[in-house]
Symmetry: C2
């Protein structure tokens, strides 16, 4: 038979990154295209210990159906933990556990937007979220970024010209893919605009704990006095990505709707991972654990940056990240970025992600590509960056 | 601020069963309202053993990001296992792991239906699926059931009168909530109608392995020659519900779209549970494991049925299930079912689920209620059913 799909998913494509990752099945290819946490960042012994104890002493808790909102002790812990960072306001917020940050962002869109309503976001932005929004057939409109985050003038223009703007989606810390961090000044302006134009800010903060240089900047959620900010985060980068355990702090009426939508989506998130996460967060020395993670990423990013600074063609510009997992490089305008990325993987056996994979408007021309330093080993970084450096010089300096 | 929600979720309510379950927090209340597998049905020692080995020998596999389609060895196992039951046709089907059967049904609706398209289903039916369909603002139309499944005449009338019928949703084995099983004859007729009227059958089979009497009936998927059947099932009732591990076998083009939608929903399902499920299914003696489960549910259902047959007022009719988790009881027409259920929980401290919780049309009058025998202990069944029997006699026979 001939299959007819719904309009909302008909043109939806799998992440372009997945196509690139196919090349990385070739053992000769060194991949800087992924976005996985460093394997050494997973606290695997502690997880094994907690899990063994849980499955021995409390197996039914870990194996039976649970409640949609999430494991109550974990929710209580997170309310307190996020409360300390002013990301949970007990007077008007509530909190739900989600199946990763991905589900938090998807359901926020589902509960607030009708087809055709407008969602604004940084451009470029995280492909997974963009596709989630696209899957609800909303009017997705990108706003260009400066070095300190979204361009305010262009944002205000979009707020005036676009119809039914309901959500502004932002990744203020070490944004994916650019690695950029939004300044406190801009966070304040953006929040003021939310109040003025009456929209919701969806603040996605998967990398917040991975700051390895500079000073912490208060979240937009911490500025929230009117109940306009949905704050989503995840244990993917601080405990385990395979857990698929994320969380959202948002005004209670929004959480209530997310609960109903989550219930019909997957009933609840894997409960073993929720209990293990709770016991991990409440028994380890958290500052020490986070310090360990930051040390890993500081070291790996420095290693990669060293090649970019010293060995890349000077015609390649880049963003120096203060945390997170990515470095954003930009080629000179006369160089075709797609050709560059194709050549990199086919001729030089180095996989990077072409910048237009992250574009909101797919026809937009990008001259950038994304490098990841968390997934490769140090040896792979050295070997791969040496090759990539040579390639930039061969192509751009001759 | 005042929150405005999307039309599709604006009127969506949390499952009414959850409201009833709140009463069950009262320790004096005996609950026949849940739908959890019996705790003794979870193979907890084996899961603990497999998990310990996995987290010791292969921790990164269990903790790192994985692929959206699901853990490859589990998919390969399922293709073979379902293939043996003729529920996977290698010439046109593919298979994906989902976050429980719930996600399988939700995403099937998302990829195939536009807002306003029609989805037909049995009425009453599983509230979780009904709400998932409602959350996409589709035209949900229930078709009444006979003792051997959906009423064919009414189904054909609906096919002629409703616009854009895209999916017929069915739970052919030990349906939730009625416990009814669809006859082979009806399965064949329904499949023929799918071919004639060009729609997709979504066959939800969470309880298939829990048949404790009668003969197995071939699935509708096993009759599928044209690629019209989406077959979804889950490990919730045969390994662990807390895992949230389900699976879908369907024509490749449909699976491809489900993969894209799953990617934007939760990236992938918890990978620890997928690997544990695979190792469980491939190392235990499966026929023996299933026999153990069937013995548990045969015994518990018999215990409950004994009270209904011997001690209930004869004015209460019921469906004798051949498997699954539920018994469907129907009061005489002059008895108000909602009053009965309210009285049961408030005065007699017995929680049952009012039948209209499962109605497709919420204004439909129901005289039935659902009993569950898998969650309570044998002692609770005896004590609770004695009370409920007395209540039916008090109310109906005096």
């Amino acid at each position: 038979m001939e299959y007819k799909f719904s309009d909302k998913v008909n043109t939806l494509k799998a992440s372009a990154i997945r196509e690139i990752l196919k090349f990385t099945a070739d053992p000769d290819v060194i991949s800087f295209a992924a976005g996985n946490p460093a394997p050494e960042a997973f606290p695997k012994e502690k997880i094994a210990e907690i899990s063994a104890q849980l499955l021995r002493d409390d197996p039914i808790l870990a194996l039976q159906y649970s409640v949609t909102e999430g494991y109550t002790p974990l929710r209580e812990f997170l309310k307190q933990w996020l409360g300390q960072k002013n990301c949970f306001h007990p007077e008007f917020d509530d909190l739900i556990i989600t199946s990763g940050g991905q589900q938090a962002n998807e359901l926020s869109c589902k509960v607030l937007l009708n087809e055709g309503d407008t969602l604004l976001c940084e451009s470029p932005s995280f492909i997974g979220s963009l596709n989630a929004f696209r899957s609800y057939n909303v009017n997705l409109k990108g706003v260009k970024m400066d070095s300190d985050g979204i361009n305010i003038e262009e944002l205000e223009n979009a707020l005036k010209s676009e119809k039914n703007v309901k959500i502004l989606y932002l990744i203020p810390n070490f944004q994916n893919p650019t690695g950029k961090t939004m300044s406190l000044e801009k966070r304040k302006v953006v929040y003021e605009l939310a109040c003025k134009y009456d929209f919701i800010i969806l603040e996605d903060d998967p990398y917040g704990e991975l700051r390895f240089s500079g000073e912490n900047i208060p979240s937009i959620k911490s500025l929230d006095t009117e109940g306009r900010v949905i704050y989503s985060s995840t244990f993917s980068k601080i405990i385990s990505s395979g857990f698929r355990t994320g969380f959202v702090s948002a005004p209670s009426p929004i959480i209530q709707k997310i609960v109903v939508c989550k219930q019909v989506s997957d009933v609840h998130s894997n409960i073993w991972a929720q209990v293990v996460s709770h016991r991990f967060m409440t028994t380890v020395n958290l500052p020490e654990h986070f310090k360990k993670l930051r040390d890993i990423y500081r070291k790996k990013s420095s290693l990669m940056l060293q090649y970019i600074e010293n060995d890349f063609s000077k015609k390649v510009s880049f963003v120096r990240p203060e945390g997170g997992l990515f470095i954003w490089c930009t080629l000179p305008e006369n160089c075709d970025m797609n050709d560059f990325c194709k050549k990199a993987v086919q001729d030089y056996k180095i996989a990077v992600v072409p910048g237009n994979s992250f574009s909101v408007d797919e026809n937009e021309v990008s001259h950038s590509f994304r490098l990841n330093y968390s997934t490769p080993t140090d040896e792979q970084i050295c070997k791969g960056m040496e090759i990539l450096s040579r390639m930039t010089r061969d192509l751009l300096d001759n």
